[in-house]
């Protein structure tokens, strides 16, 4: 029997993992089981029995490096490993297998630690892009001329703006989370 599959393009910024989790749960409830995400936000699904399933994303570079040992711990705890995409590992667990509501993070402080890992992992590329932009502008000013170099400068500028927006968005979210914990 041939498997029915579908693809859907959907964009989540690096900080919107909770919205992404909800999206995947919703699709599974509609009978579409998530299999992979590729390229620029192309989500792959295959048809399945509709089911209540909790999806969770973890950002842990160390876990990605020690992949087998890392996923083993999740599988031991009943979380199926699905795939990894831009540093995020995707897991799921059917609600039927839970005694009560379950997440891969037990407390707020470990959730906060994951946010710190994302921040560190994304800040460095942001600074690289930022300096590339400045450097390129400098080169254009002194040595290069022509449309080609201007186009690259504009692309770098756009990338930098996106990075800055995402970072600000993340900063607001992080502070909100911190405030909730402190209460």
């Amino acid at each position: 029997m041939e498997m029915t599959t579908k693809q859907e393009r959907k964009f989540f910024t690096i900080t919107e993992y909770d919205r992404e989790q909800e999206y995947l749960s919703k699709r599974h409830k509609e009978g579409w089981k998530f299999t992979a995400v590729t390229g620029y936000g192309m989500y792959h699904f295959e048809q399945c029995e509709p089911e209540d399933v909790v999806y969770q994303l973890d950002y842990n570079i160390e876990g990605n490096i020690n992949h087998e040992e890392y996923t083993r711990m999740f599988e031991d705890c009943g979380w199926e490993y699905i795939t990894t995409y831009v540093g995020y590992a995707y897991f799921r667990k059917p609600v039927a297998d839970m005694k009560e509501e379950e997440e891969i993070f037990f407390d707020d402080s470990s959730k906060l630690e994951m946010m710190q890992r994302i921040f560190k992992g994304r800040m460095i590329p942001m600074f690289i892009v930022f300096f590339l932009y400045l450097f390129w502008q400098y080169l254009i000013g002194y040595f290069f001329e022509g449309l080609f170099f201007k186009v690259i400068a504009v692309l770098l500028g756009i990338t930098m703006t996106i990075y800055i927006l995402v970072t600000v968005h993340f900063g607001i979210k992080y502070l909100g989370h911190l405030r909730r914990i402190k209460k």
Partner: protein, 104 residues
């Protein structure tokens, strides 16, 4: 003891406490999850994301150390420093308990 270690680990999270408590005998993360579930009559089920993060952090801070690998599971054991932190935390909890049972 390092001021940083004291600041980060005393008081510590429930997960952190159970990790140190259970790793007085070499064990892996999932082993700790199972032990805690048994110890608390199924009331506390530690989560893998938290467990993985805590184990790597505690290993970096030298509260626990890697022993060996068994079937893709890393076994750890508590270090002397970890033992010190555990004793401090136990004393803190005892004090809390004592104060909570004294009638004001």
């Amino acid at each position: 003891m390092d001021a940083h270690i004291k600041k980060v680990y005393v008081p510590m999270t429930e997960t952190g406490f159970y990790i140190l408590l259970c790793l007085q005998v070499p064990n892996h993360g999932y082993g700790v999850v199972q032990m805690v579930e048994k110890m608390t009559d199924g009331e506390i089920r530690l989560s893998p994301g938290t467990m993985y993060g805590s184990l790597s952090k505690m290993e970096k801070d030298k509260l626990i150390q890697f022993v060996r690998e068994e079937e893709k599971r890393k076994l750890y054991v508590i270090t002397e420093l970890g033992m010190e932190v555990l004793q401090m935390e136990k004393a803190r909890i005892k004090r809390l308990y004592r104060n909570s049972t004294e009638v004001l």
